[in-house]
């Protein structure tokens, strides 16, 4: 396997949805290629940062209006 092939397979590889022969070729490539090992690790780190991203938030005014609407409807 070449590096330019591996870098396109990373998402499939991480999904665990890869066919076994291809997965095996990836694993073998990773044992002999520092660059691709790093690439894979950086993909994982990128995903971890995205996962930990704090949300944007609604403006306070909009939030208050929604809480008001919730309260009003429940009173009916």
């Amino acid at each position: 396997m070449n590096c330019d092939e591996f870098v396109e397979l990373v998402t499939t590889f991480l999904d665990g949805s890869m066919h076994e022969p291809t997965e095996l070729r990836c694993l073998v490539h990773l044992t002999e290629c520092d660059g691709c090992e790093t690439y894979l690790d950086q993909f994982r780190q990128t995903i971890a940062i995205l996962d930990a991203l704090p949300g944007q938030s609604l403006p306070t005014e909009a939030r208050d209006q929604l809480l008001g609407a919730f309260r009003a409807l429940r009173r009916d």
Binding site: D4, E8, T11, I49, L50, L53, G55, Q56
Partner: protein, 223 residues
Amino acid sequence: MAGARELPPDQVLVQRLRDGDEETFALVLNAWSGSMLRLAMSFVSTKASAEEAVQDTWLAVIRGISDFEGRSTLKTWVYRILVNTAKARGTKESRTVPFASLLPEEEGPTVDASRFRAPGEEYAGHWAVGQEPRPWHIPEDHVLRGEVREVITEAIDELPPRLRTVITLRDVAGYGSEEVCSLLEISPGNQRVLLHRARALLRRKLEEYLSGTHHVAGGRGRA
């Protein structure tokens, strides 16, 4: 999305919402509005319009919670309302994001060909000398970690809309592949292509940033 995992299970949530428990409503509002805003931005043209789409969605949730049948998770139900609401707004603003097929620019290699040894060379297709990714160091320091987040948030905003939609759902909001395919009516294969390209672009942005530019004030966004 951080924090979302601490919500009580669906059954409890839905019952409390039906009972008019304001604290629970505030809880889901806080937990989901952020990723909802980001998702809505993929369909509409302005931040204000995205905010309105999110507001409309919550109003629909308030009105419709008594009809929620639990055939999907509460979160999926809410996000589906949002996607429909935002799509409708986007159509009016003539900014739709159809997912039926891939655009030419969404296919093809996600890493610049110049980083690999050219065909015909020895070890063609392997990293070219000096082009292989080098391990990066994400600073533990809080301020810098905040900067890393800023870099990635900015990079998400700059993604083409369809890539932004898919990566927001998968990696920021934490949806599985199946849910995203059904929310966006997209095939698993195309979803994976879009997700992979989005991740590759964001990794590249981080690589640029972490390869030293952060030592220079305002040095982000180097080409």
